[in-house]
């Protein structure tokens, strides 16, 4: 049985390369057919805010990469309900429809289900 890996992405989309580099780990894992999950936590939920315009900052728009996740075989996508609520984001209006919205207790259980974890 392959080792499963949960990547927890905590940074806002343009706070440096962190959001992209977290996504790159996930996409690489998907490309190798490994069991990978991705959780958006804390400022990471801002990566899923609707109607963002990366071009205004001459930054890369990550939403295409995010939408590509299921195509790379990464279907285990999660969002922290509390993080979204604290940041004034409606969890039902996020840019990644496939992402399941989880409570704190559910996230504790989620982390338990994976063999290893990277939080960046």
């Amino acid at each position: 049985m392959p080792t499963s890996l949960l990547v927890i992405s905590r940074q806002a989309p343009w706070s440096g390369p962190s959001a992209r580099e977290a996504l790159d780990i996930v996409l690489a894992g998907g490309a190798f057919d490994l069991p990978i999950g991705l959780l958006f936590l804390d400022d990471g939920v801002f990566q899923l805010a609707a109607k963002q315009d990366a071009r205004a900052l001459q930054q890369k728009d990550l939403s295409a990469n995010l939408q590509a996740l299921p195509m790379f075989g990464v279907d285990d996508l999660f969002v922290c309900a509390d993080s979204a609520a604290e940041r004034g984001l409606d969890p039902t209006g996020l840019a990644l429809e496939e992402a399941r919205v989880l409570s704190a207790e559910e996230i504790t259980a989620l982390i338990d289900r994976y063999d290893q974890v990277i939080t960046l």
């Binding site: 580099e21 190798f32 290893q116 960046l120």
Partner: protein, 140 residues
Amino acid sequence: MAAVSLIESTMKFAIALFSAAHAPSSRRALLFARAALAGGHEIVRLFFYQDGVYNASGSVVTPQDEEDLPRQWRSFITEHRLDGVVCIAAALRRGVLNAEEAARYQREAVAVDAPWELSGLGQLHDAVQDADRLICFGGA
């Protein structure tokens, strides 16, 4: 307070470092790695990602009154014949190039050579699959 039981069998570690050489977490990563080997365990790979790539840079000049982490990592990897992999995408973005990449992108500075190896994130995933534990160091 949990009792810490003694693990007697050899366990395999994948150690990933995300912070630059001057970050305290980089020193902690090296001390952890040394303790893992001293404890009779195996390190399947050291993977350097994000700012961790700077630990592999031969261009870093550490102030004389500080610990020279790049040199210590190099010695550690060489002495124990470990697999020290630097993520190529992270390295390129940060200007940590080996001779091949410097030639490819026509850059003057060559910052990395053996024992370091530039490779892709597949090597991180490989290490995670092979190891009993993945330990990440970085941030502060």
